[in-house]
Every structure is written in structure tokens, then in C-alpha cells.
Amino acid sequence: MTQQPLRLTAEQRSLLDRLLDEDGVGSRVAEVRRWTGDRAHAPLSFAQQRLYFVDGLRPGTPNYLVAGVLRLRGELDVDSLVRAVRLLVYRHEALRTAIVPGADGPEQRVQPSLLCPVDIPVREIGRADVDEHVALFARTGFDLAEPPLFRLELLRVREHGPDPDAAPDWVLAVCVHHIVVDGWSLGVLLRELGEAYQAFSRGGRPRLADLPVQYVDFAVWQREHLRGDVLARQLAFWRAELDQLPTAQMATDRPRPAERTYAGDFIRFGVGDATLDRLNALAQSTRSTLFMVLVAAVSVVVGRWTGERDVLLGSPVAGRPQAELDGVIGMFVNTVPLRLRFDERQSFRTMLAAVQRVCTAAYAHHDLPYERIVQEIAPDRDVSGQTPLARYWIVLHNTPTLGFSALDLAAEFEPVLGDTVRCDVSFQFVLANGALTGRVEYSTELFTQDTTCRLVSAVETVLAAVAGDPDCAVAAVPVLPDGARAELLERFSGAGSPPVTGTNPAHAFEAHADRAPDAVAVVAGAARVTYRDLDGLANRVAEGLRTHGIGPEGRVGIMTEAAGPVRIAAVLGVLKAGAACFMLDPGHPPARIATLVATGAPGLVLADPGVVDRLQPGSPVAELPSVLARPPAPRTAPAPNRPDTIAYLLFTSGSTGLPKGVLGTYGGLVNRLDGMQRAYRLQPADRVLCKAAATFDVSLWEMLWPLTVGATVVCAGPDGHRDVEHLHELIDREAVTVAHFVPSLLQAFVDGPGHDSLRVLFSGGEELPAALAEQVLERFPAAALYNQYGPTETAIDVTATRVTRPVANPVPIGRPVPGVEIYVLDELLRPQPVGVPGELFVGGIAVARGYMDDPRRTAERFLPHPFRPVQRLYATGDRVRWLADGNLEFLGRTDRQLKIRGNRVEPGDVEAAILAYPAVTRAYVTSHVDRDEPELVGYYSGNVPGLALRQFLAGRLPEPMVPTHLVAVTEWPSGSHGKIDTSALPAPDGALPADPAYVAPRTATEGILAEIFADLLGRDRISVADSFLALGGHSLMAIKAISRIRARLGAAVRLGQFFQTPTVAGLAALIDQHDDTTAPAEASPLVRVERRPHA
């Protein structure tokens, strides 16, 4: 990729100077002077150091090349061209500079041009082959120690153009390593090439301006200039500016790999002329520049994608403030971080003023190289070599087209754009001939083309909107074009599928009782109850309720010890009366039961005799055996239920504090049961396991769904939701075909034998780890596995998906089920674009009435529906995002966000990283307060070595997100409904994993390595197992370490090797292994180097 620098127009420069003068910030920059030192051992500039480091990780990488083709038509005097090139090599030291290892780090070595001959091979090539040939040419890397770090090739195109008498076409392909050149330099090179060629081809001598300084002089100057006060001032500015950086990134489509190839692609787009005119007018009226308007617009987009109104954009600048550098070829381009914090309530115009201040201040301090900023303020932790400081770049290319001009030759230059990109996403704008176009370059390792198209669309939408109305509040600036918004609200949401309003489940049951009265409805232990008998029992219950005056809107408590025909008859009876089932668990402490009953205010509680004593004296109780012993009763006339009458009351504990009583409606229940039937097609021959706790909404469908289709309910014993052995035995004995598990129980269940009878398995209630899903598919190859999601407040489940191989990680929670509306919204209740995290909101008939007798918490969570009048949406508090295929990805809870040492951390993201490690079966991340400071704790299960997991996480996550404590869990404490009881997890014991005691160096090699480490890291002593990186060593320090190792031990350790085993013991083993003469040559990874006397 050619990196074109930001170059302000003269008008912009003068505006900037004026602004700087007004602020008193601009100061005369010291002149760069010619250095008198040894140009064979010159220091590197900071930018070169960084490139050297990156190259060291993958020597000869083609990722940092600047390439282009000059298309020439006419009579080309090849000799003159060659002479011109040679002249330029002589003239510009950068073109004959090598980067070689030195005593204390790498050096620039300027070679005399005699020792640096440049060959220009000339080839004949077919026109059709040019592009491919050039692409390959532009991707061939360099050995930095072998100058010149640039090459040329002249191609003579075999076929002529349309005019057979015209002169042949030529293509001059140029490729230079970025360590000695930048985009501006390429312009200089081509311009001078043209001038020199012209002169030579006419038999004259070119007259090029004097070059008072060369790149080496700049590198030296840079070090001398950036010292003392100057350095302190710049550092202070950047430290303040980059304090408490946002950790949020755009959610990627693929996980960030530890080893990067930097493969990239791009998408083009255009900005209409009318829009451009308005944007320019806006810039002028605010005394800012078009670039600043673009920065503001892109910040709005990136801010929506990261979820934070605190955005960091990298802005490449030319880096040549001194006039004497204008004609110098070298690597000057610098990246300036632009830290944009904005308040969405302000207008875009106001935001623009803030952006202007940020840009101006940043450019006033751009002498400090980006690499230095990274080193001092945000040292990289990314082993792949990329600094995480600026993941998103913005560039406005304002340079005129590079001009090679010579008479007799028509010339056209075209950069060869590589297929790599050095940041995550780069927003590139090009202003040429009065038109504004753009390219968004993106890393294909992280993002899909689809996602990037959406980003492009967002930028276009924002620019059009602010051009039309710059005084509109930033919060009101759309990032979604109308079509995309409509798609989210109509199609993705499931809003297009109308709810099913069918019959009361009890009436559906009655129909089956009439059709096949002798079919077995319920199995419990040895008992088998037919449809006819069950109906009889239920009718008695309904009659009993009627005599008690209980009907629609009445709540009936049901408290039984186990699932069975009695409980089910009670439920059916309540439904026949059109009332609501208020499920109570006799296993709860009496105090809790009393609270629930007080809140639920049931008209009557139907209870097993053995548990009546759990209720407060004076409660309206009827013992079930007596109710069921009543004389047979006919069916009561069907109570026509409005869908919004209540059908059940279930208390949910939620993540904090007091339980809330969810009032579910008939509409929600009926719609869900019908939806399940349409999706999973239960048959009368099916046998459905009923084991969920009565207070868990899943139990409702376990009891009712089979009975609405003529199937059989197989009840587990009282401890059914925990006793895995019992379940295995029961499933076999009764040939159960359908069962639901929460993942915690599913894990235990899948460790046992398989069952041929099972044809449908449901997982829900918790996150389903991908590893577990794999195990289930393995163990039950004939069964269909579904992952379901749904809070109690929304009729059992609202999304579901079938899980098949290959199992996605994380396993999606699925698409909206019939009759349900799903929206992913941000804090302002705006629909989030596909791929962008937001809170999951549920609408439609599944939404409960609210919390019993709790208007406060109801009002808080059941909010006005922004898209359908009068309706309400339930705010789940779950963080999710849409995937392109219409499925949802669960990311964690919104209320789980933690603040660790000032950084916002989403535990869900850390958990996802832990789960990405092979063999991890479950993860949970939370904070633990130690000496007043919250620290991250990561709990995990699976056969995983803690140290390996830590290194894995350190390679993937930014430092604040790597858990301080990693705790292995063999058995997850189980809470209500069988889900994990996170409050019962053990506190971390304070010992950092693998904190070995000090081990002194044991060999001479280890001793020397320890000394080198200690010296560089500023420590008294280094244990042989201490990691260089963990002790604060960063990439640039690593380069020094490697130089010293080379000098003192004569071993050339490669950067990649260093990072793989950054310990004294590990490196010593590597070095000494090479020394062992019995080892075969291939086994030795190191290169023998001539020892130099230690300086």
C-alpha cells in the first residue's frame, strides 16, 4: 500500500499557521544540518526503528513496500533512463542505504554508489500479462541488509495499442521499501527522474537543485532535537491527550489472530458534488478545513461502532516541517493520534469546533514520532507487532498527481496498491479535480466485505446528513441509510411475522382428550394417567376455583413437591378457569414463600398436604387431594380470554436484589406454544421430559406443549433438575424423545451415555459454550440440538436456532421466534447497524404485563416502543449484536460492565477470549476488590494449563482486559433452576499463577542473558523463568536485547524466536542447543555470527 501523506494546501497551511500563532504554539523549528559522523554507522530514525522491528518478526515481508508503475508512451531512450536512475541513486543517499545490525541496535549504512549498482532489467511482455507481473513485482520483499532497497523493471509491451503506427508502450515498475521512502519521496523521485531523463535524452546534463541534507542527517537531528525541554513538552502534551484511552474497539467479524498477515482489501465510494460543496461551505463558515469535517464525520461513525463517544483516529502526516526536507527522499511520514471526545447532544457544528481544536493541537506537537508516543505512553502488547494505539486511520490525499514529465513521452503514474493494510480500518479520502472520492481499506483478517460496506454506507449517510443540516444534534445524525434501517426494523426484527392467537392451552388439551381419551398424558414413576383421567382431575380443580369465585385475572398458587399428574392437573384446572398459575417452590425458605405470597396475593393456594405448613397461617389454602377427591365436574364453559389477561405469575431472582413477579399473558403463552409446535413438530408418539423447577418458565411448556398435541409428559422425580443419574435411567426406561437442559446440567448429562430415543434437545437459560455443543452433537448424532434464549419477562423463549456443525464460537442465540419482535438498540434507543453491539429489546405479544405490584421496576424495564404506537418494549439488559445472516450473537450483560484501573471492561468480551482457547468448557469473568482496587478475575473450566491460558489471553487482549487472576473451576456451584451461582465462586487466592520463586542463572549463557535483561529492564536480578515482556520490556527494548545477545554471545536470535520464549532459560536453551556439536545442522535455528569485541 502506498501511504500518501497528508499535505495541506497553501491555504490550509496558512490557516493553520495563523491558528498556531494565535495560540502562541507555533515556534520556529530548528534547522536540520548536515551530520559529520560516520555515515556507515548512522542511527535509525524512530519510524525506521519501528519498521525494522516489524520486518524482524517476518523478515522480507512484502507488507511495507511503496510501489508504482510509470506508463510511458513514445520513443523511450532506454540508456538515458538508466543514466537518470543512476544519477538519482547517487544523489539520494536513501536509495543506497542498508539497515544492518550494529553493536547496540540496528544502524543505517550509506553505501557509496559504486558499491550499489542498480540494474534495470528490460523485458518484453504481453499487454495482458502486465498487471499480474507488476503485482508480483510489487510484492517481492527486500533483505534490509542488502542495498539498494529499491528496484526497477522496464517492461516493453509487445502488442501495440489501437493505432498500429503508434510508438510502443513502456511500463516502468518501481518498488521501494518503506524504510527509506514515503509517498512524498516517490513524488520527488519521479519528478527528478523526468527532469534527469529529459536532460540526458537531449544530450545535456540535468540541473537539479542542491540537496543540503539527506535522510541520515534528519535521523540524527531527530534524536538531538527531541531531548530536554522539547521532548518533555511534547511528551507532556501527549500524555495528557492520551490519558485513559478508550479500550472499546469495533466488534470484529473474526477474532484477532496472534500471527498477522495484514492481508487487506478496500471498498471505494464517492461523495456527491452537491454534498462536497456544502461540506466545503461548512468548513469555511467554521474556519476549519474539509479534512476536519471528514474527521468529525468519521468519528461519529466509529463512535457508533465502538459504542463510545471517545474515538482515537490515526492521521498520517508528511512529517517534513522544515523546508530543507522538501526534496529529500526518506521515510518521514508520521502518524498523529487524534483523540476525539464528543457529546452527542451538541450540534455537529459544535463538534466540528472541538475537532478543530484537537487537530490543531495535535499537529502542533507532531514532532514527537508516533513510535515514541507508543513507547512512552502506550507500549504495545500485541506480539504480532501492531500497536493497538490507533486502529482506525483517516487520510485526506490532497497531493496533485505525481508528475513525471518529459517531452516526447506521454507519462502516467499509478501507485500499485498492495493487498495489505496496516491498521484495522483506514478511511482514505481523495480530493482530485474538484471531486471527493474515498476508499475504506480494511483488514480481511478481522472484517468481512459486508461489514465494511456497512461502514462505508454509514460514512456516506453521515456526510450527506451533516452537509444538509450541520446544526442538527450529533445524536440525531443517522448512520443507517433508510433501506438498512427499514430492513432492521421490519425483516431482522421478525416484526413481519404476526403473532398466533390460538386457543387456551387447556382447550387444546380437551380436544385431544376427546379425540383419544385413552392415550397416556402423564407418566410419573410407575403411574400412567390417561388424557381422560387427567381431564377429569383438571375439571375438579376448575370447578373448585369457580366455587371460590376465581376467574380471569385471578391468581392461583400451586405448590407441589414434584412434577406429576397432580401438579399438571392443577395447572390445567387454573387455565380452564381462565386464571393465572402462580407457581411456588416448597423448597424455598418459608420467609421467602411468605414474601412471594404477600406480593402475588393469590385468591387461593393449591398445595400438597405435606407442604401446607410452608405457608403463613391464615393463607387461603386448599389441599390438592381434597380438591381432586371432589365429585366429577363437567367442563366449565370456555372462558374467552383476551390475550392480555394473565396466564402465569413467576418470580425471577434476577442478578440483583429482590425477586420480581413476572405476569405472563395468555397471548404470550399461546403464541409460544404454537410457535414451538410449528418449529419442532411434536407428534402424539413423542415423550417429553418434564423436570424443570416449577418456578422456571421452561416447565410451562414441558407440561403444556405435549398436552396440546396429544403427546406424553414424562415427569422426573423431585430432584430431576439436578440428578443426572436418575435422568439417564428415566430417559432410557421411558424412551424420552424431547428434553431441555440448562448448559450446566447438559455438561454433566453429556458425560454419561447417549440415548437413541432422544430426537430433540433444547439448551437454554444460560450461554451454551461451543465446546459443549460439540460434545452434544457428538454424543447424540441423531438428535437435533437447539439453542434458545429468552428472559422470563418475555414468554419463555424469544430467539432460537438449530446448532449444527461446524459449531460457531460463540454459538448464536438465533433468530426471533414467530410472533416476537427483536431490536438491538443503543442507549438512545436507535437501531444499531448489523454487527454493532447494543441492548436486546423485545416487543410483541411475548412481552409480559409487567411485575406484580411493582410499578416502579415495571416502568423502568418496560419502555415505550419507539417504532409502534402505544406498544411497549422490554429492555432485557443483555448485550447482543445482529449477524449478517439474521442470527443474534450474545455478548454478555449490559450491567456487567466493569471499571478496572480506569478502563471500561466488558466481561463478556474477556469470557469470549477465554472460551476461544481450545478445551475451555466454560468461562466467567468478574471483578474482585483487593486493597480497594477492583481487579479482573477469570474463572474457567477445562483441561487447560493456567500459564498457557494467560499467555494466550495476553496475546489477544489489551492489557487492561487480561485477568489479573485466573481461577480454575472443577465444579461450578449450582443455583436456582440449575444455573451457575456466581456468588458462590471462590475468591481468588491472591497468588498469581506461575509466580515462581527466584531461580539464579545456572550456566554461563544464562548468566550473560540475565545481565542483559537486568540492565535493560533496570532490575537488580532476573529469575531464569521471568518473562522479558511481563517485566516491562517492550518491542524496541527487545531489539536492543537481541543486539547485545549477538554482541556478547555471537548468536543471532530472531525477533519471532525472542517473543516465543522471552525468558533467560528459554533463550539460553535455544542458544546452547546450537552450540551442541552433536545436534544436526537443521535442528539449529540460529545463525552463527562472527564475534565482535564487546564495546
Binding site: T645, L863, Q871, R872
Partner: protein
């Protein structure tokens, strides 16, 4: 979660109450009841005034069909 935003109390034709950010336009089908303030203040108010959580139309229908 700390929330310094200003809210208003809103209700719909079913006399269901909720809260809404003061700086956003009130959605279709809802109206304010005049109360505004912090999130807590609005919720406190709702706790006092929202005494019957059944939808209004349901209440009316039940009244028409007589007591259960």
C-alpha cells in the same frame, strides 16, 4: 448505574406508565403526565400513581362482564 439524564413520566391509552429521556421526542401513542426530573424521581412518581397495572381496556371489559 449512574445516570444523570433528565427524564419525563409518560403513559399510553392503556394507562401503562413508563419513563422517557427528556431530550428525545415522546414516541407515538404516549403522552407526558407533566412530571419530569431524575430517573429516580420519575420512578418514585410512577410508584405512587400507577396503582392498577391492568390495561385500561381490560379493566373496562371485566367491569362490563361482571365480577369473576
Amino acid at each position: 448505574m449512574a445516570d444523570d439524564e433528565s427524564y419525563v413520566v409518560v403513559f399510553n391509552e392503556e394507562q401503562q406508565y413508563s419513563i422517557w429521556r427528556a431530550d428525545l421526542p415522546v414516541p407515538n401513542g404516549w403522552q407526558t403526565d407533566g412530571t419530569s426530573g431524575s430517573r429516580q424521581e420519575c420512578l418514585d412518581h410512577i410508584e405512587k400513581v400507577w396503582t392498577d397495572m391492568r390495561p385500561l381496556s381490560l379493566r373496562r371489559q371485566l367491569a362490563d362482564t361482571g365480577p369473576a
